[in-house]
Symmetry: C2
Subunit: 126 residues, 2 copies
């Protein structure tokens, strides 16, 4: 069975499910990692551009997140040394494409959840 698409979460036991989400959160958990990946996927590939796009992130945190993402194989760092000052561009690796479903699900749920909160706020104002 070579096809990874055949992994069926519903066939796993409780401990295996917990371990699997634990592994996910270990790699891509935290406040910023997925946001950096989304910004990169939307064509924002340079440091200052990323920092402007991902509102609230500080330079220090962005720097350390990019390093970790590079180390874990999600991001590739390309230096254009011919330019001066040197230009650095970040790009997503093919492996980061495997996160597509995770990102999709989280965006979709985030939109739904915001709508729920909004409608609750409306009700409590009446």
């Amino acid at each position: 069975m070579k096809n990874h698409e055949q992994i069926k979460p519903e066939d796993l036991g409780c401990a295996e499910k917990l371990q699997a989400v634990g592994d996910s959160l270990y790699a891509i958990g935290g406040k910023w990692k997925l946001r950096v990946i989304i910004a990169l996927s939307q064509g924002h590939c340079r440091f200052n551009d990323l920092q402007r796009t991902i509102t609230g992130i500080s330079g220090k945190v962005l720097s350390s997140e990019l390093k970790e993402l590079e180390l874990n194989g999600f991001v590739k760092r390309n230096v254009q040394a011919e330019n001066n000052p040197v230009i650095v561009e970040y790009e997503l690796t093919p492996y980061s494409q495997t996160l597509k479903d995770v990102v999709y699900a989280l965006i979709k749920w985030g939109v739904l959840h915001r709508e729920k909160i909004k409608s609750e706020a409306k009700v409590s104002n009446v």
Copy 2:
């Protein structure tokens, strides 16, 4: 358009995607929330049972996570006062079912990621 299934993340702009994952992470981010939800979905509904199932969680943290999850409408706390000592059972609300896709995607990716790490470790040992 009443059907929430029609939300299409690919139609959102970058800022909206970032806001949506931000909303998701705000509600269900962190090390434990999704694990508690998974354990509850697998039939572990009592405090000590949850603590045994979710390895590594402390009583203090489990207690505060359950309170937050209850406050945000993911969990219902049922007290059986007729028993002595009192028995408390937690159950997931219908709203927590909307997280199904998120949990599914994270479990699936976690399994895939573990396999990747394992195969990399093998290569580096040869």
